[in-house]
């Protein structure tokens, strides 16, 4: 029997679930294995020590001090309810007032007519802009189809502009023109 098997039997013995045959096997092993015997004696001593150790008593005023720290749920519920009601009324009253005045305005016949006309005009403007956009796109497409060199020319022009902007920045930027010499880097 190896040490691990011996240990497993020791645990069963401590838990009181070892059979007679297993107990005999363990006893036989302990007679010939000094390491296991010393550890078994230690285990028994620790088992005895822990079993004998009493439950530690709390301080005498433990219940009172604990109870004093408990959250007061009823007070919390009341406070939360009042806060919620306050917030609800704070939002609800102005909302109701606005709703009432809006209703008063909307129900006037002249105002309803004006709103209808404005909406119609806005729709018409939208339609015109939509059509104009598609016409521009269509005519641009036709133009590019007839003269394919135009996009190429445009790209060259944009490239030239970007190049000249970059040259201008490098040549006339004060930061570039008066940049100090990095002495530290040189000394290294």
């Amino acid at each position: 029997m190896d040490h691990e098997q011996s240990y497993a039997l020791m645990m069963d013995a401590l838990d009181g679930v070892i059979s007679n045959t297993e107990q005999e096997t363990l006893n036989q092993h302990l007679l010939i294995c000094n390491d296991c015997r010393y550890e078994w004696e230690s285990l028994q001593a620790i088992d005895f020590l822990f079993m004998e150790a009493p439950m530690v008593e709390p301080p005498p005023n433990f219940v009172q001090t604990t109870m004093a720290q408990l959250p007061n749920y009823r007070l919390r519920v009341w406070t939360a309810s009042f806060a919620y009601l306050f917030l609800l009324l704070g939002g609800l009253i102005p909302a109701l007032g606005m709703g009432f005045f809006s209703w008063q305005l909307v129900t006037q016949p002249v105002l309803v007519g004006v709103i209808g006309q404005t909406a119609g005009e806005l729709l018409r403007i939208g339609q015109i802009l939509f059509n104009a956009f598609f016409q521009i796109m269509g005519s641009t497409g036709d133009l590019l189809g007839q003269y394919p060199a135009i996009p190429g020319m445009l790209f060259i022009m944009l490239g030239s502009i970007a190049l000249w902007i970059s040259i201008y920045e490098r040549a006339f930027s004060p930061q570039w023109a008066f940049a100090p010499i990095n002495n530290n880097r040189r000394s290294r």
Binding site: L43, I46, L49, E52, A53, M55, E57, P58, F62, Y73
Partner: protein, 192 residues
Amino acid sequence: MNEEALWLEQARQGDQVAFGKLVEAYQRPVFNLAYRMLNNRGEAEEAAQDAFIKAYTRLSSYKPEHKFSTWLLSITSNHCIDIIRKRRMLQLSIDEPLPPHPALHSEPDASPERQAVNQERSELVQELLATLPEDYRQAVILRYWYEYSYEEIAEALDTTVSAIKSRLFRARKQLAETGTEMNITATVGHLA
């Protein structure tokens, strides 16, 4: 309905007096667990109080099919683990010397020799427990001081029975090795 179930039901509805009865009934096991885990009386008192407050605020999540004591000890044990982790983060040692525990000298009729033996035993127990990792320590405390079965320990620590068996096996092995180094057989024989 037994007394405990009645107190629980009343406490769930916000009755603090009923919860006070539960605190009174369970103060000793909860405090003992905290003390054995933390090895410090002041911290144990605070941890035990926190555990009761946590239990009170989570009463709605308690399921009556489990034992209340197991649920309460599980809260205490987890809270102690949190404290140990925080303590470790603050670089404090758990092996700091223990103040003598007054509860162990509560035998007014005991002779001075007996009181000295009690104190020595108590220090030895705490010294041995302090050598264990906290998850092993939890299992050992619940096994020895509460006489929990493997199944009950597994329920309290929210793990499997085989995990608990393995933890206790390793914990005992570690304790035996430490005990052999400390020549515990002779010490306990002398204290017995």
